[in-house]
């Protein structure tokens, strides 16, 4: 059966994630209200502007529902602004929208758009061939706590992490044709039950304050 993955569709790179998820065999649904989160097998929080996504989610009454869903074990992938939304701590900004992922991030840490760059990303669990990494006004992962594990590096920097079923990347896998990361995430979504066990073993994924 095709897993059903929601894409938070308030703003940003929504269509790109939908296309990537469809290519790796997932059914997608746009999430713009709390009710849209019902009966999902997974969730993607796309890139975009953090304040735009944050303000809209709060005004549309989605913030608590997102925290409950992600904290309740819904496998979730956040890219760029999505990573910021999932982080435990945002060092130069307000309270993250969802929180709980045991990392501290700094927004736009590489500089303004002129400093946005492409560089290969090494994801050891996906093999030795690097993924193309597109970093756009990207956040920097400055600290990885004990509950999170490093998923990918670029040079000596951590650029993706996971904590059970919750994944976050500082780069944009949806902007390049390489589908390995989406495929691996959807495999986690398919193994929803197994991920649940894994999370209990690792220590529960806690919802942000």
């Amino acid at each position: 059966m095709r897993p059903r993955v929601g894409v938070l569709a308030l703003h940003g790179g929504v269509a790109e994630h939908e296309a990537a998820l469809a290519e790796v065999g997932a059914e997608t649904r746009r999430v713009r209200s709390a009710a849209d989160l019902d009966h999902l097998d997974g969730l993607v929080i796309p890139g975009g502007e953090t304040t735009t996504i944050d303000r809209l989610a709060r005004r549309l009454g989605l913030a608590l529902a997102l925290r409950a869903a992600v904290g309740g074990g819904l496998p979730t992938l956040g890219t760029c602004a999505g990573l910021i939304a999932l982080a435990r701590e945002v060092r130069d900004g307000p309270e993250p929208l969802v929180g709980g992922l045991d990392i501290a991030v700094r927004r736009n840490a590489y500089g303004r758009q002129r400093a946005s760059f492409e560089a290969p990303v090494l994801v050891p669990s996906l093999g030795r061939e690097e993924l193309p990494g597109v970093f756009i006004r990207a956040p920097r992962v400055e600290d990885v706590g004990p509950a999170a594990e490093v998923l990918a590096t670029c040079g000596d920097e951590v650029v993706a992490v996971r904590q059970g079923g919750v994944w976050g990347t500082a780069f944009h896998p949806e902007l390049t044709p390489d589908r390995r990361l989406h495929a691996a995430f959807v495999a986690t979504v398919r193994a929803g039950g197994a991920a649940e066990v894994e999370r209990r073993e690792e220590g529960a994924f806690r919802v942000g304050a």
């Binding site: 940003g12 975009g48 005004r59 602004a81 758009q113 560089a119 670029c154």
Partner: protein, 297 residues
């Protein structure tokens, strides 16, 4: 990052435009306005010396904003800061890149500096957005390196009719390409005054190769949603916010309308309780020389 070589690539330039989709880009002239726009949920701001309605009223030569205006706005907000340069004025663009604006709008709202040429945008690391009134114009700008296009509309009027006309013209141009055979595309490329390879690529994809926002005369939440339903990826709102009676509430309503563009119940909620919109101008009586949309070649 150890390997920081790949800056200014086409993918990072078009990629930023992709991340702005579904958002509202607001014209601002002060750090206070920029903060208000960010708080309302704008996905970017356009730093200007004067908003288009005031440029139109002043009638004098309109140029790039002074660096201190742009810097002040950059320091005030964390969202991308765009700025306008005159059509063809590649030195204004160089200065804007040096100031590290996130996007440069080569804009007909300012007085053109070159009456025959647009800037060659390819060598710049910072992405460009350009206005278009129909498909050929959009494709010419893309072939010059624009990472994003927008309908021109008629800026500073608060009248959405021209933005609608331009969006429909782009749509029908795209639909027409879909029905043409290979040899017809060569003739169509001449008609569009656009490179044939780009025309073929667009015909095959059935869509523009870059993000297309709508601009010029968007004044209400309903206007913004109208442009989204006509196929815009997002909207620019210039005078529509700071020429209205209650800018913060209107700015929030515009952001909500673009996010909920296909939900009439949500649009009704976003439209409720707003004080007066900008008064607006009828386009008909404007003399040809007063139109901004005819600037650009």
């Amino acid at each position: 990052m150890s390997d920081n070589g790949g800056t200014g690539t086409p993918r990072v330039k078009t990629g930023l435009a992709q991340m702005l989709k579904g958002g509202v880009i607001m014209d601002v002239t002060t750090p206070e306005q920029a903060c208000m726009a960010e708080e309302a949920g704008a996905c970017a701001v356009m730093a200007l010396e004067r908003i288009p309605a005031d440029i139109r009223a002043a009638g004098s030569v309109a140029r790039m904003a002074a660096p201190e205006i742009i810097r002040g706005i950059q320091q005030a907000v964390s969202i991308p800061v765009m700025a306008k340069c005159r059509i063809g004025h590649f030195v204004e663009a160089q200065i804007l890149q040096s100031l590290e604006v996130d996007f440069i709008d080569e804009s007909e709202v300012l007085t053109p500096a070159d009456d025959a040429h647009h800037i060659d945008k390819t060598p710049f690391a910072v992405p460009f957005v350009c206005g278009a009134t129909e498909l050929g114009e959009a494709l010419r700008r893309v072939s010059e390196g624009a990472a994003m296009v927008r309908t021109k509309g008629e800026a500073g009027t608060g009248n959405v009719v021209e933005a609608v006309r331009h969006m429909r013209a782009i749509r029908s141009g795209l639909a027409r390409l879909g029905g043409l055979g290979s040899e017809e595309l060569v003739a169509e490329a001449k008609e569009l005054r656009a490179p044939v390879d780009l025309v073929r690529q667009v015909a095959a994809a059935g869509r523009l190769p870059v993000v297309n926002f709508s601009a010029g005369g968007v004044a209400t939440p309903a206007d913004a949603a109208l442009m989204m339903q006509l196929g815009a990826d997002g909207v620019f709102v210039g005078s529509g916010i700071f020429k209205s009676d209650e800018p913060p509430a209107r700015a929030r309503a515009m952001v909500e309308a673009v996010a909920s563009w296909d939900d009439p119940d949500a649009l009704a909620r976003a439209s409720e309780g707003l004080k007066g919109a900008m008064p607006g101008l009828d386009i008909g009586p404007l003399a040809e020389g007063d139109l901004l949309q005819t600037r650009g070649w």
